[in-house]
Symmetry: C2
Subunit: 133 residues, 2 copies
DNA sequence: CTGCGGACGTTATAATATAACAACGAGCCG
DNA sequence: CGGCTCGTTGTTATATTATAACGTCCGCAG
């Protein structure tokens, strides 16, 4: 392997492709169905690819939906905490990293001596466009 | 009905009881297994109770675990956003509502014209005690 | 009484996720 | 070359989480 965390395999490319073209979050099974024509046959193929893609920061899991999205930034090497605003109407996912949010949460974590964490921040509602409609 | 959102039924009491006595989050099926001796037979009994309890703020769902906890405060009528710090070692769940966190997130929401939202904030890691050990 | 609505019980099934193992192929070394 | 090892893949089976659908029961308004 190179200095990179390593290149993507074919399956990983296909899963990432499906997520990148999607206009909203996709469940693992939606990905599977889309990739059946490309030869996918079973859930583990999707889940294994997703696992690797998430480890590399190319894909995020939306816990409140049990679904997945491609990282808006190509890959997430963000220093701050990543948050998602998810429109329940149109499926739009806005990935963001807000300094004030990061600071306030990391402050709480420090004050309460919580350890190395993985943090989930998900806002569910309607996006500006859908709320206006 | 009274001015209250209404009293709990027997099933709801039992589910809340199971969650209140638990030392950590419980999956719906863990609750079901615990309550089989009390006569529970099938998932819908648990899920229906949980739905009502959550609507009344007595129970919270932890999205990143697909599990449930009793509200630490008895019932949540909090004005701010509620967050959870979850210890992956011992299962301890610290429910909190931090003003700085609430403000920073609601600021982002306002700036981005997101609508009425339901917000999930979950910090996963090790609690102070477990991190020390 | 009668009809309605809410909680409940029950069966079946959907949706999400992982365990387990066989097969394959690329790289390495004898 | 032939055999080894390791990582990816394919495949089957199963575990886990959640909901649909329908019938029963019961309290209460009319
Ligand atoms: Zn990202
Ligand atoms: Zn929208
Ligand atoms: Zn609460
Ligand atoms: Zn702990």
């Amino acid at each position: 392997m190179t200095a990179e965390s390593s290149a993507l395999t074919k399956n990983q490319e296909m899963v990432l492709g499906a997520l990148s073209q999607a206009k909203g979050p996709m469940s693992a099974y939606a990905i599977l169905d889309e990739l059946r024509q490309e030869g996918f046959r079973a859930p583990p193929q999707v889940y294994r690819a997703l696992e690797k893609l998430m480890k590399n920061g190319l894909v995020h899991r939306l816990e409140s939906l049990n679904a997945f999205v491609a990282c808006s930034h190509g890959a997430c090497h963000s220093t701050g905490l990543v948050a998602f605003a998810i429109c329940d109407q149109c499926g739009l996912v806005s990935e963001f990293s807000d300094e004030a949010v990061t600071n306030s949460l990391t402050n709480w974590i420090a004050k309460n001596q919580f350890s190395n964490t993985k943090t989930t921040i998900e806002i569910r509602g309607d996006c500006a466009a859908c709320a206006a409609a």
